[in-house]
Symmetry: C2
Subunit: 565 residues, 2 copies
Amino acid sequence: MDFIDDYLPVSLHETAFIPIIYAQGSDEQAKYWGPLAEKHQIIGCYAQTELGHGSNLSELETTATLNRDTDQWIIHSTTFTASKWWIGGLGAVSTHALIQARLIIDGKDYGAHGFIVPIRSLKDHRPFPGVKVGDIGPKSYGGFSKIDNGFVRFENYPIPRENMLMRFAKVTRDGQYIKPPHSKLAYGSMVLLRSHMVRGAGITLARAATIATRYTTVRRQFHVPTSRKDAANPALETQVINYPMVQSRLFPIIAQSYAMLAAGNKMRSMYESMLSELMQGDVSSLAEVHAISSGLKSTCSTFAATGVEDCRKIMGGHGYSYFSGISHLWSSYVPSNTYEGDNFLLTQQSARYLLKQIKVATTDPEKAERCSVETVNDWLRPEVQLAAFEHRAGRLVGDLAIAAVQDGMVWSDLNLECWKICHAHSQYVLARSAIEGVAGVRDQGVAKETVRVLKRLSDLFALHTIQASLGDYLEDFYVSPAQCQSLRQQIKNLQDALADDVVGLVDAFDFPDHFLGSALGSIDGNAYQRLWDAAQKEAINQVEVVDGYKEYIVPILNQYGAAKL
Amino acid sequence: MDFIDDYLPVSLHETAFIPIIYAQGSDEQAKYWGPLAEKHQIIGCYAQTELGHGSNLSELETTATLNRDTDQWIIHSTTFTASKWWIGGLGAVSTHALIQARLIIDGKDYGAHGFIVPIRSLKDHRPFPGVKVGDIGPKSYGGFSKIDNGFVRFENYPIPRENMLMRFAKVTRDGQYIKPPHSKLAYGSMVLLRSHMVRGAGITLARAATIATRYTTVRRQFHVPTSRKDAANPALETQVINYPMVQSRLFPIIAQSYAMLAAGNKMRSMYESMLSELMQGDVSSLAEVHAISSGLKSTCSTFAATGVEDCRKIMGGHGYSYFSGISHLWSSYVPSNTYEGDNFLLTQQSARYLLKQIKVATTDPEKAERCSVETVNDWLRPEVQLAAFEHRAGRLVGDLAIAAVQDGMVWSDLNLECWKICHAHSQYVLARSAIEGVAGVRDQGVAKETVRVLKRLSDLFALHTIQASLGDYLEDFYVSPAQCQSLRQQIKNLQDALADDVVGLVDAFDFPDHFLGSALGSIDGNAYQRLWDAAQKEAINQVEVVDGYKEYIVPILNQYGAAKL
């Protein structure tokens, strides 16, 4: 599936249906449903989102009501907006859905729980009576074009009681609800998906950065009056990648890719240790891992979606060709900013956790901390970089604390502030992951020159990220105007120093040409020829006169009689 | 064509081929070619971009060499990268192309000039000998899907000498080159296209803002513990548009739409007076109009492309449905950030002009100007807002002047700084256009309450734009931390005050539902039902079992034998 490199109708079967059965099903359920799913004897999907509600689990309108007599759940779409919607794999292919529905016993509502619900018959694929299922239609930008995102409505549709996932909460034969040991246990599966997304963001951005770096090395534009650049070939125009306007946009993107890959590795090990604790009923690290993974998901998927499209724009006009290989990457990636927790909303819960964890910086400008940078090279000290990130997060928490006690203020009025805090913290995590990543490589005895290049990249990530929020740092006098100048100078120094290594840095991702799927970003640099060749293969170019000429073009040309030239 | 609302193979015939014939053709040429084109007896396109070069006219590699004996131009693609590429309408439909080629007489190169070149026979639509023409293939994000962007190569292809456009430069029968009265006269047509784009950016963003405003009014999400909002219906969830996170993203977009429409009107009258001057050989306003139109093109098309996609994201998951009506708007709009002058490169020439026009602010922080704001409401004074924009532009020019004299610095190293200056100036023009627009409406005797609302919108545009560059204002102490706080407070006040009027403000654009083409943004607010109805009409939902079930799904389900459930 990695090499097919596209979202398929069975993608969520693999990435959601199967893992959730194992994570939230009891041992017997895992033993029964797991092998059926792994052998693809059933094909499943994960149905949480409804027409009316997405990430807001507690307001879902689909219900599962216990019928004690028949020992069944009655699945029902209580309103029009209860229709499940967007469910990947459900439109045409799935036989089963893992649905989230509000569990109701004797009129009492226990909130959302997971249920395995048969949708289409294994005999003939027809939907079962009481199930109205179909496809929701095309998606934006041609994204997810190979996934059958679907809808489903249930009309008092019975399923066995045992189809409720019962690792944590349970319902017995006599209708007794046994609550889970911890109310947030179901968050585990969200943490899993979001953890994957950190690394995924890094890989996605790395692909786009590879294409843009290679193409802007091939592309030459304008004769620039300088002896410094392209000195060896004065007859040639300047390589586009040599312009500061390109370097200042592209190099930070390469640095972000590396930082996110480092953070992705870290996130994976955090998740794995949390999971083994959870399996033993230990929930102590859940809040922290949930907060960090939510924040990183929001920050990294924003970086990646923005950065991929920036890479396309950096490539100029040819970037808009489908053959650039970037657009289908972006069109299927960008919804990640919305799914698994909208990037703007997701940060609300995490911010509450962070409020308790982050040391509040004073908001009195006179007494506040100051950045210790004196020379341009002080910006290269990791402790200086991390101190800046920590300071900003602390300062924003302090601002929020003040805002929160104002008259008539309610929590939801502060969601903008929470979002800022959460991103500030994620930036800290990313910068730290990058710094630790470089240290790790150094400890492994990698060649010094390689370590030096990676250090520059880590520095560029930190300093570019600080620069992007410079207003925050200036407003409480943490940095001075002179430090702003030295920061910009250091960023320019780093870009200059990295200029000869960026091609190597993206080659190091080692993406095969087949995987990149880009006429402009192939490793041989033969961009123009490949763009030409790709066009020649188009069906429309196999005929000399386009189909429809006589029916559609001639009547236009001849409406006032043929031209006499 | 407005109501078809899509780019068609004949779009550039109407918007480029015909106007350029009239603007750059001699009177006789206009009289000959104009009616042929207007009656569609010929269909034309505009061929400037090549595989190797886009906006860099002086490096185009297609040549037109005079053959005195035959009184013909020999059009030739001198290299592989000389192939014309991206030409809208050329792939399948055009009979003629208005090409840019380097004019060569007796080995002397006079630079790029325009020529009318027959491409396909009017008899049978076959390309003429010496012409290799075809389609360049699909574009990113499904954009421009109905335009046949094409390529063409010429192999020593002769056309009559009279096919050179000769309003300005001329070549006589005896091969004498008569240079144009002003070297930049050809810029006139670029100014025309860019001027249109300012208003176009406003319209495009207004459409997306309309859809997002209506849908976020319909959409409700989360019960928020507040007596203030939705107090009339405590049982209902909060309208999404009531969240500050949504208001702070959406309301400035509405304000940008209005400001760009105001600037578009202004730009149009500037262009019209310049054109009538140009026709009389008066080039005095060309430099200014060219600089302002280039800057506004860059700033406005960036605002619009970013804002349209932000609107889609603001709408949450359903925004990613093709039925949102936003995605096809964006996918065809976003290349405008690259064409007619890449938004990052376009600003270079303008910056040189602005350098001479903008009063340089001192870069000595001690002696510098200070923002005069004392109370929150001082931010509402137009002169305060304009002073801030002017100050920033002046300060950036001062910085550039310092950078430009550093050792070894070349102009192209400063393109980032030029880009900033140009945008700072465009923001000033936009803010001023909005302020003058409100004054104009007031002078027309429009109802006071309407003027008050428009004033708020103009204020929000100015203050939100200032806030987005707050770091620049803080770095030279133009604004103080206290002023930053009052700025944020005033922005919040404006958003609160506008909350009840935003639906009216987007309804005032008066886009018909048919034109919006959005299930989520129709004027009746029946978003969910329309989304459902749109999906039901899909072909895939007209059958109970998807085509291909037996061929593709059954083999997967049965690879380990059928499940025994």
